[in-house]
C-alpha cells in the first residue's frame, strides 16, 4: 500500500490529533474551542476524501462524462459544518458569560475562584 496515495487521510488524522491535543492541554477556553474546531474540521476532510472517486469529476450531469464523485458526503458535510458553526457559537457564548461572571477564561483560575467560594 502506497502511503503517499492516502496523504489526505493522513492530513485528516494529523489535524484530528492536533485538535485533540489542544483540547487536552490548553487551559484557555477560547483555545480549547479552537482545538475543538480543528478536530471537527478534520472529520469534514475525512468525509470529503471518502467521496472522491478515482477519475471522477464534479457530480453535474454533462455529456461525455461517465464517472462522477459521490455527492452525498458533500451534502452531509454541509450539515455537519452548520452543526460545527452552531457548536462554536454556543461555545463562544458560554465563554463570554464565563468571562462576565468569573473575570477570566483560564480554566485554572476559574477553578481557583470556585474553590475559594
Amino acid at each position: 500500500m502506497n502511503i503517499g496515495a492516502h496523504y489526505n487521510y493522513w492530513v485528516a488524522i494529523f489535524l484530528m490529533m492536533t485538535g485533540f491535543y489542544v483540547v487536552i492541554t490548553h487551559g484557555n477556553l477560547i483555545k480549547k474551542l479552537i482545538g475543538l474546531n480543528l478536530f471537527t474540521t478534520s472529520v469534514f476532510i475525512l468525509y470529503i476524501s471518502l467521496a472522491k472517486v478515482k477519475g471522477g469529476t464534479a457530480p453535474i450531469i454533462a455529456p461525455g462524462i461517465e464517472v462522477y464523485s459521490n455527492p452525498l458526503p458533500h451534502v452531509l458535510i454541509l450539515t455537519a459544518i452548520v452543526v460545527g458553526v452552531a457548536t462554536t457559537a454556543v461555545g463562544l457564548a458560554l465563554v463570554l458569560l464565563i468571562y462576565d461572571r468569573y473575570g477570566t477564561i483560564e480554566e485554572d483560575e476559574i477553578r481557583l475562584k470556585d474553590d475559594s467560594l
Partner: protein, 496 residues
Amino acid sequence: MNHLAAIQVIIPLLCAPLCMLLRWRTGAWLIATLATWATFGVSLVLARTVILNGAITYDMGGWPAPWGISYHVDILSAFVVLIVSGVAALTLAFAYKSVQREIRPESLRAFYALLLICLAGLLGIALTGDAFNIYVFLEISSLSAYALIGMGQRRRALRAAFQYLIMGTIGATFILIGIGLLYSLTGTLNIQDLASRVEMIPTSTYGNHTLITAFAFLTVGLSLKLALFPLHLWLPNAYTYAPSVVTIFLAATATKVAVYMLLRFSFCILGQRFVFEQLTLGNILLLPSLAAILVASLVAIFQYDIKRMLAYSSIAQIGYMTLGISLNSHAGLSAGILHMFNHALMKGALFMVMGAVAYRTGSVYLSDFRGLGRRMPWTMAAFVFGGLSLMGVPLTAGFISKWILLQATLEAGWWPVTAIILLGSLLAVIYIWRVVETAYFNPRHEIEHGTEEAPLSMLLPMWVLIGANIYFGIDTSIPLHMAERAATILMSGGTL
C-alpha cells in the same frame, strides 16, 4: 400510511419558534406544555400501532429509502419515544413555578423554546432510520442541552455547560467518524441497508479493520454520551448546576436515548454476531458497568449536594443498563431496556423532589433537608417512595428491574456479578437513607425558612411519577412486554 412518526418530531420543532415569537411569558409555557402533551398523546398512539401492527416505515417528504431519509419505528423506538415524551409532559407540568423562580424572566421564552428543541432532537434520534440523521438530531438535542444547562443560577453552571459542550462535541464527532467509516464501507446510511450490507462484508481471519475502527469510534462516542464509567466525569457537574427542570428532563431522558443509540448501532447495524462474538463487546462493557455500579454508588454516599448525589446514582444506574446489554442474552437485554423505563420513573420523581426543595429552600445541600419531613411532608414522602424504588424494594418499579437483571445474570451463571448488583442496591440504601435521616430525624434548621409544602403544580406531577413507580412495580406487564419484544427484535438483528 399515516404521518404519526413525522408529526411526533415536528410538533415540538414548530412550537419552539412559536414560544420565542410570543411576547406573553405564560403563553410560552402554555405552548410548550400543550406541545409536550400532544407529543405524548402521539407517542401513545404510535406505541399502540406498533404493538398491534408491527414496525412502521415512513419516508420523509415521500422520498423512498435509499435516497430520502426514512423513519423507522419499531417497538424499541416506540418505547423510548414513550419514555421521553411522557417524562417531558410531566416535566413541563412541573416546570411552571420552578422555572419562574430559577430562570431570569427575559430568558423564559428562550428556555421553553430550547426545551422543546431538545425534546425534538431526542425524539428524532429514536425515530429516525438514517444513521447520519441520528447524528444531526443528536447535535440538535445536545446543543440545546448545553444552553439549557448554562442557564443554571450559579456561575458554576456555565463551567459545567462548557465542559459538557467540549465532551459532547468530541463524543458526537466520534460518532460522526464512525458513521463515516461505515458509509465508506457500505455506501449507504439507511440503518436497514447498512445492516444487510455489513453482513455481506467478507471478514478475513483478522477482521475488517475499517469496521473495527468504526465500531471503536462509535463505542467511545456513545460511552461519552451515555456517561459510562470512566467517561462520566461531565455528568455530575452538568446535572448538579443545571436548573431543576433541566436536570429532571435530561436525567430521565438523555442518557436513555444514548443507551438506545448504543443498542441500535451494535445490534441493528453491526449485528449481534459481529459485535458480541467477534469483538466481544459484552466483555468490554462489563467491566465499566460493574465499576460504574460500585464506584459511582460509593461516591454518591459521600456527596453533600443531594442533586450531585443523585447524579452519581444515575451513573450507577446506567451501569445496570449497560450490564444488561453486556449479558448479550434476551433476558439481559429486556432487563436493560426495562430499566431505562423504570429509571426514568424513579429519577424523574427524585429530581422533581430536588426541584421542589430548591424551590422552597433555595438549595439542596444535605443540611437544608433538616426538618423537611415535617415542613414538606408530601415532598419528602415522595422522596422516600422514589428512594425505595431506587433501592429495589418489592412492589416498586425498581424491584422489577433488579429481579429481571438478577435472573439474567444468574441465567448466565455470573455469580460475582449478581453479588455486585445486590451490593449496589445496598449502597443505594445508604445514600438514600442519609437524606431520609436528615429530613425526618435531625433537629430543625437553625434559620427558619418559613418553609411550607411545595405548590400543587409541583406535587401533582411528582406524585404521578411516584404512582407510576408503584403501579409498574405491581403490574409491569405493559413495559415488560414492550421491553421483551424489543429484545427479541434486537437479538434477531432488527429485522422483525
